[in-house]
Amino acid sequence: MASRNFNTLCTSGEKILMEISKERNNNDRDNREGLKGWLNPSRYGWERLSYWLQRLTGVFLIVYFIGHVYETSSLTRGLDAWNAMLQLTQTPWGHLFLILVIGTSTFHSSNGIRLIFTHAGKGLGRPGRPDYPYDAISLNYRQRSGIWVALILAAVAMLYGTSVLFGGK
């Protein structure tokens, strides 16, 4: 008898909570951080920063890719169209933009390679018995250095790109 009452109490409680949720038109979106959660990378360490940068560079690069395919198609309209396109893009601003593209693609590629290894479960450590201070083993120096390497490679590539584009013959 007693156990049945207890059961009813528990299930009634759950029912009440579900009803409250429905009442408030809770379509699961309540209080979700939304896009703001993506845009602020500053609170949770290196991996969150790498996630933010990977997405940002990826979106930038696909936009660049579409523009690039369009701009190179001016080739099919003959010499004049091609030269007009070059006038538009071979300018200091155009060069700066290209340097940005070089940096973002280098970062996206190197970080992407690191992520392929990570998503395959490599380089993260083995599960064990956590102890105080309960730091996560997957957020280790290997991953942090991987992110730094990607950033440094991007910087080096941008420097090289600057020397080619602006220091040209």
């Binding site: 696909i62 890719f65 080739l75 099919t76 030269n83 390679i113 392929i116 998503h119 040209g168 013959k169």
Partner: protein, 117 residues
């Protein structure tokens, strides 16, 4: 025939890795002679006439279109989750991939001289 998400992600990783190599070659082609010279009309057309280079460009197109638009698809389906949105995103992704590959291939073929006056 619908692909499982794990198969789509395998394609995403493989195209990303492969694209790295082909794009690297594409960039190096701009560096084998002074940068400004490499962008002159005649030199560019000469590149397109080389069948290997045309194949390289075509593979860049396909690999990057797959990788990039799949990435956009992932970002978009994470933003909203109703049936219309998700179906729309899938259709948009496929159409975008086909469009850009078709448009780029047109450039390659025309520049290669097969349809070019």
């Amino acid at each position: 025939m619908t692909l499982r998400e794990s198969q789509i992600m395998k394609i995403h990783y493989i195209t990303g890795l492969a694209a790295l190599f082909v794009v690297a070659v594409h960039i190096i082609m701009r560096l084998i002679m002074p940068f400004n010279t490499s962008l002159e009309y005649g030199n560019v057309i000469a590149n397109y006439h080389n069948i290997l280079y045309a194949i390289l460009l075509e593979s860049i197109l396909i690999l990057i279109a797959l990788h990039g638009f799949n990435g956009v698809r992932i970002i978009l389906i994470e933003l909203r989750q109703n049936k219309h949105w998700e179906n729309g995103v899938t259709i948009f992704t496929i159409i975008a991939m086909i469009t850009i590959v078709a448009y780029g291939t047109r450039t390659i073929i025309m520049a290669n001289g097969l349809g070019f006056e």
